[in-house]
Amino acid sequence: MTSAVTLPPPATPAPTPLSARAVAAIPEILFWIYVLAFFVYLFAPLVVMSAAAFNTSRFPTVTPWLGTTTDWFAQMADDAAMWRALWTSALVALGVVAIAVPVGTAAALVLTSLHARARSVLYALMVSPLLTPGVVIGIATLVLWRQIGVGGGLLLIVLAQASFISAYVMLMVAARLQRFDRTLEEAALGLGATKLMVFRRVLLPFLKPALLAAALLATLQSVENYNTTLFVRGFETPLTVYIATKVRTGLTPAVNALALVMIAITIAGALAWEIARRLEARRGAATAGS
């Protein structure tokens, strides 16, 4: 053998000195400092914003702490404009769900039934609203409808939001459809069911969890949307617009009280969602194992 490769002699195992171990731990320590900083970054603003709802200071802050109060919650509850904004958001969300869930579902079904080439073109068109800035969607909707004499308002908010929220629904339904066993449809047909009955009794029940999840996501997306809504709102003031306007017209901790309520609701929602998801996953694992 004339191989030129020479391996270094095996290191003799010796007890690692303390200083060397400390040096080896540095990346680890740095990493945990980074994780800590990450979560401080993530939560500090939310904690400060929530805490400010209890400070008597007229401007929402925690420094200086002028005294603890729950008056801001009462003020928030008395704010008729806030309730009107909430009502507007609810109407919009209802309209968006009513359009986006059927449209997104139909899109997913059309997409999965098509052949590869037609599918990729259609798919690109369907996800394009997700890659379009929200302000552009709002503007495009606004200028189209002005041509036929319809100005900004509830209708345009719903249509503009539905144009991209339908894409989210499509993706969620398509993900679930991928796990659908098409022989179930054949089995139902073979037993004499009409195509309509196959859809109603076999496919739709299978899609139900995804449809509920999509409806929930569509509601959240709709309520929290700002960029698109801003351009098509006309004289309507949904909740996000209301909050943003408050910053200019006089921010008080009543807005923080509202924020805290919304945070509490979303955390409860997120937890419920997570728990449901995990239960579902566990049930799936259990049936797969039997």
């Binding site: 970054y41 449209v103 890659l131 929200g134 041509q147 959240l220 919304m262 997570e274």
Partner: protein, 293 residues
């Protein structure tokens, strides 16, 4: 089409196609085409619409190119959005890697839950939180003064504030795609690379990042698009000197009263974002199907 009717029958197929057609033609294509039409026409008095002055031209686009303030704001929006994208990537990548590869399952699921909560809170509130934190007499200045880091309060509103607020707002659009793509990397690959003597840097540049490129591309595309199209963060956290392109567009529509010029600016923003999407996909050699998941 044949496959559709074979599966759902003529009635249901017709219904589905109608819904999809309404969406794609009525809510996606028509508005964008009308926006292009608007962008290429001059802003006229109602009496002149359809008259000899109503001709297509590139005047509105040329206006943007020749108006130095607007042009500078546009260019700043482009590179600042790229900076937001890069900063978000740097902030997210280590955590995504840790979550996907080294964290124990219970730790990972706890951290995921902690991450999801701010994600569910809307962008306006998240930005408002920074607005409060950054106030001149606000908590951040108070803390830094108390610690003796600052001698007098700082003005945080402006470019820095916008950057911090945007990274905050879009963290999860970057984190989750990267996490998902790293999670599918077999753990043994990293171990094998380490076993063969690769440094940590090399493991990431040669093994992990190439594997996760679809997720990284997705995160980058979304973060850039959201940053360039952002309105809340610059509006709340910005200063007069840190205006964002979206604010100029807004002014054309609701203060300047020139919708045509506004539409032209919006068209430029749209083209910019689509170009970045296509460029990123080409650069990472990823198809669109891998992106939106």
């Amino acid at each position: 089409m044949g496959a559709l009717t074979a599966r759902f029958g003529a009635g249901l197929t017709g219904f589905f196609v109608l819904l999809v057609g309404f969406w794609l033609a009525g809510l996606v294509l028509a508005p964008n085409l009308m926006m292009i039409d608007f962008a290429l026409r001059p802003n006229l008095l109602p009496a002149d619409v359809g008259g000899p002055l109503d001709v297509y031209s590139l005047d509105n686009l040329a206006y943007l190119a020749n108006e130095p303030v607007h042009r500078d704001i546009f260019l700043k929006t482009v590179w600042a959005s790229a900076l937001v994208m890069l900063a978000t990537f740097v902030v997210c990548y280590p955590l995504a890697y840790w979550l996907a590869q080294t964290a124990s399952p219970s730790a990972a699921s706890l951290v995921m839950l902690a991450l999801i909560i701010p994600f569910w809170i809307n962008e306006v509130l998240r930005t408002l939180a920074w607005y409060i934190l950054f106030a001149f007499r606000g908590p951040l200045n108070a803390l830094l003064l108390n610690l003796g880091i600052l001698d007098e309060p700082m003005r945080w509103y402006g470019d820095g504030g916008v950057l911090v607020g945007m990274v905050y707002a879009y963290i999860l659009f970057m984190l989750f795609p990267i996490y998902n793509s790293i999670e599918s990397l077999e753990k043994a690959q990293v171990e094998a690379a380490r076993d063969l003597g690769a440094s940590t840097w090399r493991i990431h540049t040669r093994i992990v990042i190439p594997h996760a490129k679809a997720g990284i591309a997705t995160g980058c595309v979304f973060t850039f698009m959201l940053a360039a199209g952002s309105y809340v963060a610059p509006a709340l956290l910005g200063a007069p000197g840190s205006r964002w392109f979206t604010q100029i567009i807004y002014n054309w529509f609701f203060e300047g009263g020139d919708w045509n010029r506004g539409a032209a600016y919006a068209l430029v923003l749209l083209v910019l974002c689509l170009a970045v999407v296509l460029l990123t996909l080409r650069l990472f050699r990823v198809s669109l199907t891998d992106v939106a998941k």
